[in-house]
Symmetry: C2
Subunit: 360 residues, 2 copies
């Protein structure tokens, strides 16, 4: 009926407190694919600082210093969110800020943007990357394009992604493999079941082997990686009166990053040498890389300990490039993608000051 209204947002004030800045960012909707307005505001605000070389690529905004410092730290945050669930604009309640993206990860973006404006003389050269489409397919992820077309922008001694870690440093991540195990039998009418060979019954042995798997807990650079081997799907059956001749079990293996994808698959092939195994997907883990000097200094500055990241994040992308990388950002990661997403405003301020201490 009417044209889509054009909403105009106030310029971002990067010098406002990082919790106020978080609220301002949350109030600019930026579901994946619609990051134009928020990217415009970030670009304008960073160019206004005049101390950065700024580049705009699609809805990704890049900014870096060139101060000739001995080390360079890359600070990155995605600016998109999952779809809004009646939780924009933001809402304050005591120390808590509610709203879509409060955790994942506009509080992290606010921390980085605030530091960009308030660290006039950092001890390290800084590269800021505010990128789009992290919540959707890998090919649309802004970092994928930067890596392909502007690889020089990703060179650094340490990458810090401000994904939610609830105040911790999280490093590296597990690898993940998906395989299908197919157990075969022989059909018969269920009224003459002894003429068949029940593939579903035979699958019990496979399931037992999965649950009996001795999942390792591996310590690398002080981070503990818990492995896990699980059936995540099962399907079998022909008809209600037929002994089934096939049962397929979909298996997910989360493996510590001391195993390569090839080694992880070999573990499964050995465990199920007598079962038909199809590899559906395998993604490498990421070693924490905390023995690198810049990474070790950051861990020390952030309290001295790091823990393993469970899920895949863009940290793995940097690890694959040989760049030590960690996650460090406000908010409880288990709230990400929930309608109840919220963040502690004092935590945003505290983490910003920790990061300032490392970069100043």
């Amino acid at each position: 009926m009417s044209a889509t209204p054009v909403t105009t947002f106030a310029p971002l004030d990067l010098r406002s407190s990082p919790d106020d800045l978080t609220a301002a960012l949350v109030d600019i909707p930026s579901v994946s694919g619609t990051e134009g307005p928020i990217a415009d505001l970030i670009e304008v605000a960073l160019r206004a600082e005049q101390r950065f070389q700024v580049e705009r690529v699609g809805n990704t905004v890049l900014a870096r210093t060139d101060l000739g410092r001995p080390t360079r730290v890359l600070l990155a945050g995605h600016i998109d969110t999952v779809p809004i669930a009646d939780n924009v604009p933001s809402r304050r309640d005591g120390d808590t800020l509610h709203g879509c993206g409060t955790t994942d990860m506009k509080s992290g973006d606010a921390m980085l943007l605030h530091l960009a404006a308030t660290l006039p003389a950092p001890s390290r050269d800084l590269t800021f990357v505010f990128y789009d489409c992290e919540e959707v397919e890998y090919d649309r992820n802004g970092l994928t394009r930067i890596q392909a077309e502007y690889p020089g922008w990703l060179v650094a001694d340490l990458a810090i992604l401000a994904e939610p870690t609830n105040g911790q440093v999280e490093a590296g991540c597990q690898g993940t493999a998906a395989v299908a195990l197919t157990v075969r039998g022989r059909r018969s009418h269920s009224a003459r079941s002894w003429l068949g060979d029940n593939a579903i019954h035979k699958s019990a042995a496979v399931l037992h082997r999965l649950s009996a798997f001795d999942a390792r807990i591996v310590d690398i650079d002080g981070c503990e990686y818990h492995e896990g081997l699980n059936a995540v799907g099962i399907k079998g059956g022909v008809a209600s009166n037929v002994i089934p001749d096939e049962c397929t079990i979909q298996v997910n293996f989360r493996f510590a990053p001391d195993r390569s994808p090839q080694q992880a698959i070999a573990v499964l092939q050995e465990l199920f040498a007598d079962v038909e195994l199809t590899v559906l997907d395998v993604a490498a883990g990421a070693l924490p890389g905390l023995s690198a000097p810049a990474a070790a200094e950051f861990v020390a500055a952030a309290g001295g300990t790091a823990k393993a990241k469970f899920g895949w994040t863009d940290v793995s992308r940097f690890a694959a490039l040989g760049i030590p990388a960690v996650n460090y950002g406000p908010g409880d990661p288990s709230l990400a993608h929930t309608r109840e997403e919220h963040v502690s405003m004092s935590q945003i301020r505290e983490m910003t000051e920790v990061l300032r201490g490392f970069l100043a």
Copy 2:
């Protein structure tokens, strides 16, 4: 474009040999729902014998003697077939007659029709039932209507259904129960699998209990009933990165007819007392009833032994009415519903003579 051609069939000659009569019946297509022409020809042929009270109900033809004999034998055959699969008209090859319905069950119908015409003075009163729509839903089955509207036509001391048994007497049948067993767990991200409780892994114990079930082999009236307890379907899984919180196993229990449906369900409820169990369907078996005098005499006439019928047939309907009932007809039942359906012509003639010996 043109009107459907009206095919005219020659009258049935019930005195021709039962194998020739089988071929004539096969050559009259009668897929379930289209039995009009074959029912017309059967009705005309039986009325021509003049020794029967004949009744036509839909496409079911009923005929009976009233000779005051001490016992009455009901002889029944369905006149419909499954869809034709390029196997009509019939084709002879040595002793073999090929074609749709040769086994299931126009050879049995031919045996009964030939005896109707060639047993002028039977030792028992006879009731013939040629009924439609046995191959489709129970509610369309011609016998269902007769049972509801003309129950007097089903009174007898023994019912013989000429379903294919390959020369044997088959009696009674297993009951069948379908239940769903739902195993529950707790979801978690597969990267933190130790926080969840894998319902698929837990299902292994249920599958093990199924395969370890001590299936009875029960002898009743000389018939052996093999019980069977089997998973016929399994389904579980949420997503490839989620520890599943639910796995459902569909179970089929074929039970000997010495158990009632209630007793069969109780067996399952006891075996799976700790699992969520939903009864999907249960159908009673049928006791062979061979201790009844007329049934025992028929078994003796047919060679002295009977075996258990595996699947459900209309025999169970008669058993439920308290009428001893057996299957006895030419053809290998495993050929029923196949494109390769065929029958031995000498077997048709031999079985007809056995049945004549019992009825004469």
